[in-house]
């Protein structure tokens, strides 16, 4: 079976959760990582009362940009009970501009405490970019 050009899958980790992500470019990689993270959390988003949010995130390098973006989503999920399923992401210089669409969380089965830098590296692959992220749970 042919592997899709972009995607994510859970990988084995003894104590925490691991996510492998691949995509043609960095914005798509970030979107896949966000979708994968919400999946791990067992998040279901309301179809009613949709909301929009814009974020601008800067970082020293692309790994930090990825961690900062996911941390921002975790913070919004905890403090406002919001999660997102629509993503429009683009890079301007080293900043990430994100237009997000989502809604209130109606179901969330598990908690992610943090996004870690453990052996985090975004590397080139045949399909574009790939990385593995470990989440503390």
């Amino acid at each position: 079976m042919k592997t899709p050009k972009r995607g994510h899958r859970e990988v084995e980790h003894t104590a925490d959760w691991g996510l492998e992500v691949w995509a043609p470019d960095l914005p798509a990689l970030m979107e896949e990582a966000a979708r994968g993270m919400f999946e791990l959390m067992g998040v279901e988003v309301s179809e009613e009362s949709r909301c929009h949010r814009q974020l601008e995130i800067g970082a020293e390098d692309r790994e930090q940009l990825l961690v900062s973006f996911l941390e921002e989503l975790l913070f919004i999920a905890e403090s406002e009970d919001l999660a997102f399923d629509g993503f429009l992401l683009k890079l301007v210089d080293t900043n990430l501009l994100a237009r997000l669409e989502g809604g209130f969380i109606v179901e969330r089965s598990k908690e992610i405490k943090a996004v870690t830098y453990h052996y985090l590296e975004i590397s080139e692959s045949k399909r574009g970019l790939k990385t593995s992220i470990i989440f503390d749970v």
Binding site: W17, M41, K113, A114, T116, I134
Partner: protein
């Protein structure tokens, strides 16, 4: 890649990874485990992570690894490393996101036999009294001033607010607070997360368990702790909630720059650190201590709520329904301590991640009644299995920086656990064993299944076999509340 064949046997329960195994190691790694537990330990990246920890600047003595060790991120869960003041480093990743995650044990004179029929009610009462679940807030809503007081005073803040007694606070590690907490080094985001979560259990592997004292191994120590065979106890496992997670997140990010500034080379970015005497290191230390105090206060509030629920449910069934505190210990913390290392008395920052302090007899910081027996060490099991009460020994001071194991330790990945174990079936299985279960999420329950963990009895046999702890009592679960 570190292999089991790299280990040198020092004794029946002690192993060493010498500095020759990897060129960037500054000190050896000392592992406490039986040969059988070692096989499980070799199955993941625990040893590699311990070797990575041995590269931290200013690390002294040995990096210590407990038998419940398992792979974490950056630093292994079940690892201990001491870095020397003033210029050794402090590493947030070597303490963990859940700063001062820890365990509290309360004990009673209520015999299980007289309360057995009330266990269903007791599980429901504890579940209702102690808010739990993913991201859940509690009944308390602290303002900025109250939050700052909780961060400065820890358990004592909770006691003054009417949650607990002087004896509770006295029977808490460090008297329930770390000096030097610096609230000004805590971000607004952390404060925002911390304000609504005081007095909440959270989710994941956090729990409240009702346990029966199943067997006493040391009559005198058990008597001093107020543990009586056949009587009920309550164990609480939780930490600093989103407040601590955010502080660790903030400083792991800040330290990405600090390592460049101080020219620190590391094998893993999650181990980022800063010298203890640097502005960055001191800022994190102050914020980390604030989170540690928040966690002491959190467990104090939960203990009070659990105590009320316990008394209300069992009143009339027993003459004395009071729960007294046995002890409260942290297992994710950075502590300033003095230890004899390489023949010299040194002031060090002991990073314990998934490992507890286990001071031996005679230590001045222990409550007076515990000075002759040693510090209580609380080792929770994994729902269906036993938990243990141990005490620290003279040998824990000389061999393990006054440290011991913190639990059973995972052996099965969460992914495998949730694919192979059904939460509903597990609940029925536990209920069949006479354990009442209240769980916020069935997939969450499945991930925490007993078979996802090592055999806690084997872990305890390893630390007692190595002489770094002594058995006092084994506890058997009869009701579990999971977040």
């Amino acid at each position: 890649m570190v292999q089991l064949r790299d280990l040198k046997r020092l004794g029946p329960y002690e192993w060493e990874i010498p500095v020759s195994v990897r060129s960037d190691m500054r000190v050896p790694v000392r592992l406490f485990a039986s040969g059988k537990l070692l096989e499980a330990i070799g199955g993941d990246a625990s040893l590699e992570q311990a070797v990575n920890a041995a590269t931290l600047p200013g690390v002294v003595g040995e990096v210590l690894v407990m038998p419940d060790v398992h792979q974490g991120y950056g630093f292994p869960i079940g690892g201990v490393a001491a870095t020397e003041y003033p210029s050794g480093v402090i590493s947030p990743g070597a303490i963990g996101y859940d700063i001062n995650c820890g365990v509290r044990l309360l004990a009673s004179r209520v015999e299980f036999a007289e309360a057995k029929n009330a266990m269903e009610d007791l599980a429901s009462a504890l579940d209702a009294a102690c808010p739990s679940g993913v991201g859940k807030g509690g009944r308390l809503r602290l303002d900025e001033h109250e939050l700052e007081r909780a961060c400065r005073e820890g358990g004592e803040w909770a006691r003054k607010e009417g949650f607990g007694t002087e004896s509770d606070v006295a029977r808490t590690e460090e008297g329930g607070y770390l000096g030097g907490a610096d609230f000004s080094k805590v971000s607004h985001r952390a404060r925002e997360r911390g304000r609504p979560q005081m007095g909440t259990l959270g989710a994941g592997n956090h729990f409240i368990e009702v346990e029966v004292v199943d067997e006493v191994f040391d009559d005198e120590a058990a008597r001093v702790m107020g543990l009586s065979e056949g009587c009920l106890t309550v164990m609480i496992h939780c930490g600093s909630r989103g407040f601590g997670h955010q502080i660790c997140t903030d400083y792991v990010k800040k330290f990405q720059k600090a390592v460049q500034r101080y020219g620190i080379q590391l094998p893993d970015r999650e181990l980022v650190c800063a010298p203890l005497d640097s502005p960055e290191g001191q800022a994190y230390e102050g914020a980390m201590r604030a989170a540690a105090n928040y966690a002491f206060a959190n467990r104090q509030v939960l203990a009070h709520l659990a105590r009320e629920a316990f008394a209300k449910t069992l009143r009339g069934r027993s003459a004395n329904v009071h729960l007294h505190q046995v002890y409260d210990i942290a297992h994710n913390m950075g502590k300033t301590e003095e230890h004899e290392i390489d023949g010299k008395r040194r002031r060090v920052c002991v990073h314990r991640k998934g490992a507890t302090r286990a001071f031996g007899p005679g230590f001045e910081g222990l409550p007076p009644e515990y000075r002759s027996i040693g510090q209580p060490v609380l080792v929770p099991g994994s729902m269906g299995t036993a938990s243990w009460v141990l005490v620290g020994t003279d040998k824990s001071m000389s061999r393990s920086l006054g440290s011991c194991c913190h639990g059973a330790g995972r052996t099965m990945s969460r992914r495998k656990a949730k694919r192979s174990i059904n939460g509903g079936e597990l609940r029925r299985e536990l209920e069949g064993q006479g354990i009442k279960v209240r769980a916020g999420s069935m997939p969450g329950l499945a991930e925490e299944a007993p078979k996802a963990y090592k055999d806690v009895d084997a872990v305890v046999d390893a630390v007692t076999g190595a002489g770094i702890a002594r058995k006092v009592a084994r506890l058997r679960p009869v009701a579990v509340v999971k977040g």
